[in-house]
Symmetry: C2
Subunit: 335 residues, 2 copies
Amino acid sequence: MSGPVRSLKQARQIREVFGSVQPELLEVEAFLEHELEGALPMVQNVAGWVLGGGGKRIRPALLLLISHMLGYRGHRSIRYGAVVELIHTATLIHDDIIDESEMRRGRETANRRWGSQAAVLVGDWLYTRTMDLCLELGDVDVMRVLTTATLRMTEGELLADEVRGRIDIGEVTYMDITRRKTAELFAAACSLPALFQPSTLHLTGSLARFGINLGLCFQLIDDLLDYTGSADELGKPAMADLLEGRVTLPLLLLLPRLSSEQRGRIERVAREGTFEAIGASEVMELLRTSGVLEEVRERAMRFARDAVTELEPFGDRPEAVALRKAADLLLDRTR
Amino acid sequence: MSGPVRSLKQARQIREVFGSVQPELLEVEAFLEHELEGALPMVQNVAGWVLGGGGKRIRPALLLLISHMLGYRGHRSIRYGAVVELIHTATLIHDDIIDESEMRRGRETANRRWGSQAAVLVGDWLYTRTMDLCLELGDVDVMRVLTTATLRMTEGELLADEVRGRIDIGEVTYMDITRRKTAELFAAACSLPALFQPSTLHLTGSLARFGINLGLCFQLIDDLLDYTGSADELGKPAMADLLEGRVTLPLLLLLPRLSSEQRGRIERVAREGTFEAIGASEVMELLRTSGVLEEVRERAMRFARDAVTELEPFGDRPEAVALRKAADLLLDRTR
């Protein structure tokens, strides 16, 4: 199956899995639009640009599906679905400044289009505005979950920034960064619905674990796709992580199996940001023949399996079935 | 009186005015230290660098003095004194990235010393952490005041960024930006103490007005000092505002009194960031002979007067007397 056909199939499958929450996903979109309509022009420009960039709204979709599963049908799931997407958006905006990225999802990044100055400020505005959106309902417990997730994400980025360009970071550091950077917001999105009704409060922990494991699976696949995906599928240059000095799991598993001369050449790529010391196709060949790509996929599968274990109490409820399919789709996605 | 002697005198006067809250200001410092001790190394580096840069802690001092005036002696004034200073710190860190500043208070800026990447993230971390510090006590009303002030500040910076390099911005826009950028956080610092006890809730509005007016006075003097202060007193290059394309009140009042040829030359400085089209001493001469420097000072005095009007209900209580002196000091300061 060719790349474009896979993408098409995948988009349809995602719509199917999250089919039961489509009406509410549209309400989340309307909420986001309404938020931007009331904002300053530059907030509309930058946030509108990033929100309109073809994101899959996975976090709000998970939040909505889990809200259904818990029997919640109030307006909080719409609001907080929008809030997690806004936090995610703020993170993307600031991350692209930090990485000095020029492309995301096949388009210019916000910092390139509107300048880093505006991008810093709009990110700040979005973070603060999300707190306001929680305050409007006085949902202190929701805020606690979200500020904690935001702090962890920022710490993840700080740790990642600290080890940038280094190939000796070790798996523990990599997993710590991945958990903070990606999995914590998944955990927040998945566990917040438990806070919407007193009767489901006891489910917070297991839903957070579902989210953490799903988030780890998601990020591992992302890191894998950075190597195996085409620039077209990724919407940014292939091997962007390595070029930006970010050593992820595929490389971490590969490095100990290389000669010190090969390691040295890969280190130069991470440090110099060009494929001068060793070509991209050569790196790819090493990854392919060493078997580490399958290993990363296996680890991602293990996290997906750990995630769905947390769904056991919900048996064969349609939402639990959909969430299991969602985990499979995250594993199989091309970008 | 020479510059250094004035600075010395001024530092002593500030200590005198805020003398009654010195013990609590030290507790605020201890709170800030404790906060940093628990943070990631890069947060310690960046935030410690900026917090240790010789700031005068005016916002916490006002908050503490007003807490005393309202008869509040609990621990909230320490915590929220630290919180407003942390918000202020986050703003400084992000502002210096946006302005690409290299010097603040006579030292390198955080972005220059630790890199813009780390500075973006540490600013984010501080903003989010301040929300956490409010959440720990469940103070939803305090959070509301602080998130609103933070949103307004960010909007002020966005508006300022939009008009950067333009000399035709008009006083209404300038005052709107100034109010948001500076006065809103003063208003928050001054009005929060009213929320600490139910019996003082009705004072929130008048204390917020006190803060707004004091903040406007503060910023007008700051904008004036950017022209009249020496680089030594300012801890950054003189006329930095103009060089960074930020047209403030002294220039706004001057421009209509110039020939279009002179205006054109000043516009070039704002746009090009160098004194090629007209020399700094020539700009200074125009400002001096036109009388606008006195006009700006008079306006600042008017805001100070409007501020202290709000203190009337507190008569001659020692804290009200000290706050009036604080307003005088802000007017008279050299940096």
